[in-house]
Symmetry: C2
Subunit: 455 residues, 2 copies
C-alpha cells in the first residue's frame, strides 16, 4: 500500500509553491498569446486511439497511455488514448468546422499532455504544452508572414519571461532551401531521405564515421562537400561555397531564391524588434519530423546547450487534409513547461513572491473578545471584492497579529482593539498602511469607506 | 475511420466561444477563492488505481478509466486510473506533508476529472470541478467556523456569478443532529444505517410504500412520526413536534444542542451577508455519503429543482488518517462546471462578450502599399505590452478596414494612409477613438507615445 500513497512516477504534485509557478508560466503564455491576437481553444484529454495513428502511424501506440471504454449494450468497447500532443485534436477540430471559421485561424492552447515513457531530465510522463497554430494564407508571401508571426509570438513570450538573446536562440531552416542545396550539390532525389536523415545527426557523427557513411550510401564530391560544410557549422548560404559565378543560370536563380527566403524571415524578426533572438541564416542541421513538416522549420534552445529544445515548430500544410478537412496551409509551434521552468529557475528569472497567493488588500487584526464584529467586516469587505485575510490564532496580542499581517504581504491592517472599539460615540478602529507604516485612528464607517475605495 | 475524427462521446471540444466560457467559470472560481485566502493546488491527472479504493472500496473500479503502465525491465506493470475526483489526491498530499504545512490548511483546486459512465444531462465523462478544503481546527467552535467559512466562499462565488437567493439555495444537515433525532425518536443504534438510507430517499417514496417499509424494517411509533414529518418537508426542529416540555432533562439537553448548532451556522451566513442563500434550519433529508462525511453536510441546488445539485460538501474528519496521515479535521466542498454553466446560460447570466478574446488596445489600419511600416509599429506596440490587432485582408479601403477595427472591439484605430504618411516633414497618422469616434491627425511619434500611455 506504501506506493499507493505516492504520486505515480513521472507526474507532479503541485503544492501552493509549485502551483503558483505553473500558473505564472500559463498566465504568461496566455497573456502574450492574447496580445498577439490568438484565441484560446482546447479539446478532450483523451481521443479515440486511432486519431493518433493518422499523423504518427501505428508505432505511436507504445508511447501512449491507452484504455478501453466500458462495454456498451452489445458488449463492444472503444479504445481511447491520453493525448501525447494537441495537434491531432486541433486538426480534427479545424477540419470539422473549416468552412465556418474566420481566416486566418489564430489559435493557442495550453493542454496537459501525456507520454508513456520513462522520465528523464526535462521529460515527464505528464506535462503542459503551449501550442500555437495559424492556419490560412493564400499566397507564398502571406504564408511567409504567418511563419514569422508565430515565431515572433514565441520569442516575444520568452522575452517577457526575461530571457535575453544571449540566453536563447532561434535556429531555423526551410525544407525547400535544403532541397535546393541537395540539387545544387547534385544529390539525386532518390537519395534525399537518406540525406535528410544524415543532416539531422551530422554534428554528432565523427569525421571517420562520416567518411564511412558517404562511401556506404554513395554520397560523392559535391554532396560530401555540402555535408562537411554543415558538419563544420558553416553555412552553405555563402556564394563562394557554391562557386556562384560558375553556376548555370537555372542554378543561380535557385540560389537567389534561397537567399531571398532567408532574408525575409530575419527581416520580419527585425520589424518586431526581435532580430537578436534569431539566426540570420538557415541552419541546415534543423530537420525535424520529415513526415509532418512541409517547409519552414525552427527550434529554440538555450545558448549554453544545457537543456533540450525549449520550443519547436514549423509549417505543416498537409495536416488538415490528413484529418479529413480541406486544403489549408498551417504553421505553428509547441513549447513544454518542464524545460522552460528549469531554465527560468536556473537563470534566477522567476518572480520572488510566487506561492503566496494574492497579496491581501487588508488583514483584519481582531483583538476584541468575540469573533462576530470581525466576521461581519470580513463579509462586507469580501462582498466589495477585496481580498481579505485574518489570523486564526486565538491570541489578542496586537503586536503578534501585526506580524502575521506583515507576513501576508497585505497592504493594510485594520485593527479592532477593545480600547477604541467600545468608546462612547461608536466604534473607532486603527487603519495601518503596512508599506508606509502610517497608522490612523478613525471611526469604523470611515475606515470601511477608505478600504472599499482602495485608497 | 469516421468516428476517429470526432471527440469521444461525453467529452467536449472547446472552440474559442466554449473556451472563453470555461475560462470565465475557472477565473471566477479562482478569483473568489483567492479573495477568501485559499491557495491553489493540483496533483496528477492519474493516480495509482489503488488510491481510489481507499476511500470508495473496490466497487469504484468499474466507474474509472484505468490503464497499465508500460512493462519495466522485469516485465511488471502498474495500474493507474484517471481521477474521478480530487479528494484522494488532496488527502495523499496533505498526509505526506501534514506536519510541515501551516494550519489551517486552506486549499482550492480546479482539477479536470473523469467518469467512465454514460453521459446524461449535467453529467459528462470529462468535466472540471472546483474543490475547496479547509483542514485543522482544534476546537468544536473552530470547526463550526471552518464549516461555515467554506460554505460562505461557495455562496459568495455563486453571488459573483449573478445567482440570487431566489435562484439557488443551500440546504444543510448535521449527522450529529440526525442521530439526536434518532435518539429522541427511540430508534436503536443498530437501525441507524437503515434509517439514514431511508432518509436519503424519503421524499421520493409514496406514502403507501413508506408504510410498507416501516413494517418491513420495524420502525415504530416515534420513528414513523419522525419520518413522516421529514417526508412532509416539515422540520423536526420544532419543540412542539418533540413535545419538548414532556422530555426528560437528558433529552431536553440534547435537543438544545441541536438548536444551538442550527443557529450557529445560520449566524455565520448572516455575518457574511449571505443569510438569504441558506436555510435557517437543518434539512434532515440531506444525508450524502455515509462512509465519508462525519458531521456537517450540505448541498446547493437551483430553487426550481430543474438541475442536479450545483455543489455539495461537508465535514470529513477521518479522511487524512485513512490516507496514512495524522488526525486532522477537514471540511470542504466540490462544484462541477457542467451544471453550473447550464444554469448560468439558462438564466442569461453569462457575460455577452465571451469568446472575442481580449479587446485590442489598438487596431492598425494599414492602407500603405507595403506591409513593413505597419509590422514595425505592431512589433513596437506589442513590446510595450499593448494588445494589437490588424487585418489580414489585402484591401487598402480605409472604410472597410475600420469596420474590422470596430468589430474587434478595439479601443483605438491607428490609420496609416499614403496621403498623410508620405507628407514632407515625417509621417503623419490618424488616431481614432472607436468609442467616441473622435479622430486626430498627428505625427507618428506623438501617436505612439499616446498609445503607449494608454491615454
Amino acid at each position: 500500500m506504501a506506493t499507493t500513497f505516492q504520486a505515480p512516477p513521472g507526474t507532479r504534485d503541485f503544492y501552493p509553491d509549485q502551483m503558483a509557478l505553473r500558473r505564472y508560466v500559463e498566465d504568461t503564455w496566455r497573456r502574450v498569446s492574447l496580445r498577439h491576437g490568438f484565441l484560446e481553444v482546447d479539446g478532450p484529454t483523451f481521443e479515440f486511439l486511432d486519431l493518433y495513428k493518422v499523423k504518427s502511424g501505428d508505432e505511436i501506440v507504445s508511447q501512449l497511455f491507452h484504455f478501453e471504454s466500458r462495454e456498451d449494450k452489445s458488449g463492444n468497447t472503444e479504445a481511447f488514448a491520453l493525448r501525447p500532443e494537441f495537434t491531432p485534436t486541433l486538426a480534427r477540430m479545424v477540419a470539422a468546422k473549416a468552412h465556418a471559421l474566420p481566416r486566418p485561424i489564430k489559435w493557442f492552447s495550453l493542454p496537459r499532455c501525456y507520454r508513456a515513457e520513462r522520465q528523464q531530465k526535462g521529460r515527464l510522463k505528464e506535462f503542459f504544452q503551449w501550442n500555437v497554430d495559424m492556419l490560412g494564407g493564400d499566397t507564398p508571401e502571406a504564408r511567409a508572414q504567418f511563419d514569422a508571426e508565430v515565431a515572433i509570438l514565441c520569442l516575444d513570450c520568452l522575452r517577457e519571461f526575461g530571457l535575453s538573446p544571449d540566453e536563447v536562440k532561434l535556429r531555423w531552416n526551410d525544407r525547400h532551401n535544403v532541397e535546393t542545396w541537395f540539387d545544387l550539390a547534385d544529390i539525386p532525389e532518390a537519395k534525399w531521405p537518406a540525406a535528410y536523415s544524415l543532416l539531422d545527426r551530422i554534428r554528432k557523427i565523427s569525421p571517420d564515421d562520416r567518411k564511412r557513411i558517404y562511401t556506404e550510401q554513395g554520397f560523392e564530391g559535391g554532396a560530401q562537400r555540402l555535408f562537411e560544410q554543415i558538419a563544420d557549422n558553416s553555412n552553405p548560404l555563402a556564394p563562394e561555397f557554391w562557386k556562384y559565378d560558375q553556376l548555370d543560370d537555372a542554378k543561380k536563380q535557385k540560389f537567389q531564391t534561397v537567399v531571398v527566403k532567408a532574408m525575409t524571415f530575419h527581416t520580419y524578426l527585425r520589424f518586431a524588434g526581435l532580430e537578436r533572438y534569431g539566426q540570420a541564416e538557415p541552419d541546415p542541421s534543423i530537420v525535424r519530423g520529415l513526415a509532418y513538416y512541409t517547409g519552414f522549420v525552427w527550434e529554440i534552445s538555450d545558448t549554453r546547450g544545457e537543456h533540450r529544445a525549449i520550443a519547436g515548430g514549423g509549417r505543416y500544410d498537409k495536416l488538415i487534409e490528413m484529418f479529413g478537412g480541406p486544403t489549408l496551409p498551417a504553421t505553428g509551434f509547441g513549447m513544454g513547461d518542464v524545460v522552460l521552468a528549469n531554465l527560468l529557475q536556473e537563470r534566477g528569472l522567476l518572480p520572488k513572491d510566487l506561492g503566496r497567493g494574492t497579496a491581501p488588500d487588508v488583514f483584519i487584526v481582531n483583538a476584541l473578545p468575540r469573533p462576530e464584529p470581525a466576521l461581519k467586516l470580513i463579509g462586507e469587505l469580501r462582498a466589495a471584492k477585496l481580498v481579505v485575510a485574518t489570523s486564526y490564532k486565538t491570541t489578542k496580542n496586537i503586536g503578534k497579529l501585526l506580524q502575521d499581517a506583515a507576513a501576508s504581504s497585505a497592504r493594510h491592517a485594520l485593527i479592532l482593539a477593545p480600547a477604541e472599539w467600545y468608546k462612547p460615540g461608536g466604534p473607532l478602529v486603527k487603519l495601518k498602511n503596512l508599506a508606509t507604516r502610517e497608522e490612523r485612528e478613525l471611526p469604523l464607517p470611515e475606515a470601511m469607506t477608505a478600504l472599499k475605495a482602495r485608497a
